[in-house]
């Protein structure tokens, strides 16, 4: 049985995980890929997804038989198409190269200060969901380390609701939905004037 994950309505701020920082892969795809590899044990507190969900040979789970892979296009269609709110939002994922994401952040920070030349500290927000939390923290700390004290970081955490759709192969059953929670981190990196 396969599972498709889509963002619930309450998750509007993060559906652009596929946004500027990836090369076309959406975070939902990586979420699926991650689950296939890692299993349900690493999710935010919910261990309800049995391993059989990840199997592709249609093992039974609950009341459903072999269920069809809710084809990729369903995934994409349901992705809300809200792009990153502002140009200084970076969404970190596990597919894109770490160095590329780091370079992108650095370019934003340098460009934001020198390019516009307006007053105020340029700041960027780095968002990470699930497994990408670690990478987001790494990027933020690397930025801070390479800035010689000119940058400060501040982090906030939140929970994001994800909805899995299980579409039955046989069309006789209703599609099931399952919601689960995942952790997210938002790191604000901003320039401070040295006193």
């Amino acid at each position: 049985m396969r599972v498709v994950t889509r963002a619930s309505g309450a998750w509007r701020s993060f559906h652009s995980w596929c946004g500027c920082s990836s090369v076309g892969a959406s975070f939902l795809e990586l979420l699926l890929a991650r689950e296939e590899r890692a299993g349900p044990g690493t999710r935010g507190g919910r261990r309800s997804l049995p391993k059989a969900d990840m199997a592709e040979n249609g093992e039974t789970w609950g009341a459903s038989e072999a269920e069809l892979d809710p084809v990729e296009y369903t995934l994409r269609k349901r992705l809300p198409h809200r792009l990153p709110r502002r140009p200084n939002d970076i969404y970190v994922n596990m597919k894109t190269d770490f160095k590329a994401q780091l370079a992108r952040c650095q370019k934003l920070l340098e460009g934001g200060g020198g390019g516009r030349g307006q007053g105020g500290c340029p700041e960027i927000y780095i968002h990470g969901l699930g497994l990408a939390i670690n990478r987001a923290i790494n990027i933020a700390l690397q930025l801070q380390a390479s800035s010689f004290g000119a940058l400060q970081v501040a982090a906030n955490t939140s929970t994001v609701e994800l909805v899995d759709e299980l579409e039955p192969e046989t069309n006789t059953r209703e599609p099931l939905t399952r919601t689960r929670n995942n952790s997210a981190i938002h790191i604000r990196v901003f320039r401070v004037t040295p006193k």
Binding site: S13, G44, V153, T157, S183, H186
Partner: protein, 165 residues
């Protein structure tokens, strides 16, 4: 490296660790060290029990490396169970030193040992029942319990953000 096995991991960052990550904010906090293999239900059972006592005002969750996500998850679940907690999140690097020794150890001499230095990202999250200074970097006020879903873009304050429900 297949001939070596990890003997121990030492935390070579001890001089920064001894005062604790939040010594300035909460000297007497309950400290929860989250490791990669920690079970969330065990951690939260203990944490919830301690926080239910009115005498405990603050609690700190810290984790590094692979345990960072688990730390954040624990904090989020605890915030769900106990509303009205103020949060301060701090990020830093922790340096670890792993010692690997050859396996099987040759008889007689102990064999060569490798020492690996790693710099891993670490997160420390302080949860407090009392209000904290909002000017602290990483401060997060308690959620006002909206529709029960995930938090909305809390930094969405400019007009470019679409309307939130």
């Amino acid at each position: 490296m297949e001939n070596f096995k990890k003997v121990r991991t030492e935390d070579s960052d001890t001089e920064a660790e001894s005062p604790g990550p939040f010594a300035d904010l909460a000297p007497g906090a309950v400290e929860m060290k989250v490791k990669e293999g920690s079970k969330i239900r065990n951690l939260l059972g203990f944490a919830a029990a301690r926080m239910e006592q009115p005498a405990t005002r603050t609690i700190v969750f810290s984790g590094c490396g692979r345990a960072v996500t688990k730390t954040v998850t624990c904090v989020e679940i605890l915030k769900r169970r106990l509303a009205g907690l103020h949060q301060v999140t701090r990020l830093r690097y922790r340096s670890l030193r792993e010692v690997w020794e050859s396996r099987p150890p040759p008889p007689g001499c102990p064999g060569p040992s490798l020492s690996v230095h790693k710099n891993v990202p670490a997160v420390s999250i302080l949860l407090s029942k009392d209000a904290l200074d909002p000017g602290q970097p990483g401060y997060q006020p308690p959620e006002p319990r909206p529709d029960g879903g995930g938090s909305q873009g809390r930094w969405c304050r400019s007009g470019s953000c679409e309307g939130r429900t």
